[in-house]
């Protein structure tokens, strides 16, 4: 029964989250904290922190975390499948339509007006990621993290000038930042 409940709770999380990322939070909270009481509000806060520390979509992170705690590994797998089932069916339908009609002039016209909007959205996400990195305690005049400025600048330089691999840049920033913040800062 619990497994079924997990499945349907995360089926709803998958189906009712449009726009990704933080749009998922209220839906997850509604199911996991308010409806089923699988997590307390404090544990839900921990879940958000963990999601920010680990890779992957927050919906999948939440499904795995809650599933593990309620019903072990089978729970994690069932909740994750529940979370992606509806999105995958919808996207596969759209993908089939795209494959069939994606080259039509009218469709291309509409899609080509989406491209600049998508770039604007990616730029907006980049801005909030950069602000989060540069002002870890919130944006303020005194809150600028100089070490982060150095890391971001050096990272951009390595990527653009020397074409260094992206994953290398992320790992190096983690290693250097980890050493610096642990030994020098505070």
């Amino acid at each position: 029964m619990t497994i079924l409940k997990l499945f349907f709770a995360f089926f709803q999380v998958g189906l009712f989250t449009i726009g990704g990322g933080y749009a998922a939070l209220p839906v997850i909270q509604n199911q996991v904290v308010d409806t089923y009481g699988w997590l307390t509000a404090a544990e839900f806060g921990d879940l958000i922190t963990i999601s920010q520390m680990t890779p992957g979509p927050i919906g999948i992170n939440a499904a795995t975390f809650v599933g593990m705690r309620i019903a072990g590994l089978p729970g994690a797998v069932v909740a994750t499948v529940g979370c992606i089932l509806a999105p995958c069916l919808i996207v596969l339908t759209l993908a089939a339509l795209y494959k069939k009609y994606g080259e039509l002039r009218a469709v291309r016209g509409v899609l080509s007006s989406l491209h600049p909007a998508v770039v604007g959205l990616i730029a907006s996400a980049a801005l909030s990621i950069a602000l989060q990195a540069l002002f870890p305690a919130g944006v303020s005049l005194t809150g600028l993290d100089i070490a982060a400025v150095v890391l971001v600048t050096a990272g951009l330089f390595a990527l653009r000038r020397f074409k260094v691999n992206q994953i290398t840049v992320m790992l190096a920033a983690g290693a250097i930042g980890g050493l610096f913040y642990s030994l020098v800062a505070r």
């Binding site: 009712f16 593990m68 992606i84 993908a95 007006s113 980049a126 992206q166 290693a175």
Partner: protein
């Protein structure tokens, strides 16, 4: 492109690697997809990639999973989509399964926090890098409409915090009107 075992392995490995390093939200997949599937392998054009992202983020569910499904399907139909989605889901499933057991240790560990703080700066650099390229591609056309659409979407998302689904729908509506207008003009030419 041959759809042999090697192809599926490459698709699986590419998606797995991207998913394992998507720290900080769905959009971080964009620079990673561009690098691996557009620039290195040449399997996907930049135009198609933006199509996949546009459709992926306007449908329900995680953007990373949706975009992987779109790309996998575009490359190799249903088997491609299944391989791409499986590879995308696997890293968070494995990592969270492990972390959920002793998460208090991870959350309270100062060294882990410091490494992640540094990594956040690296992620910012990677995302800013791809934004520079994508914005340059839009402004290069020297046409006003795309630049205005891009700026409007940016302001709506960054300043007014409008849900991305609405922004995508509004741009699609604009696209439909623009296409209809071109059609109308052409019909006018056909029957004067």
């Amino acid at each position: 492109m041959k759809k042999d075992l090697k192809f599926y392995l490459k698709l699986f490995a590419g998606c797995l690697r991207i998913s394992a390093f998507t720290f900080g939200g769905g959009y971080v997949i964009v620079p990673l997809i561009k690098k691996r599937f557009v620039d290195e392998l040449g399997w996907v054009s930049e135009e198609k990639m933006l199509d996949y992202i546009a459709i992926g983020q306007s449908s329900p569910g995680p953007i990373a999973v949706n975009t992987a499904a779109m790309m996998g399907y575009g490359l190799a139909g249903l088997p491609g989509a299944l391989v791409a989605v499986f590879a995308t889901v696997l890293p968070p499933l494995v990592i969270l399964s492990v972390v959920s057991v002793f998460y208090a240790l991870v959350i309270e560990n100062a060294v882990v926090r410091n490494v992640l703080r540094g990594m956040q700066a690296g992620v910012a650099a990677v995302v800013l890098d791809v934004v520079v390229d994508l914005v340059a591609a839009v402004t290069k056309s020297r046409r006003a409409v795309p630049v205005v659409l891009m700026a409007a979407a940016f302001v709506a998302a960054a300043v007014f915090k409008v849900n991305v689904a609405f922004i995508i729908l509004a741009s699609a509506a604009y696209g439909v009107l623009a296409v209809a207008k071109v059609r109308g003009k052409e019909r006018g030419h056909d029957n004067p």
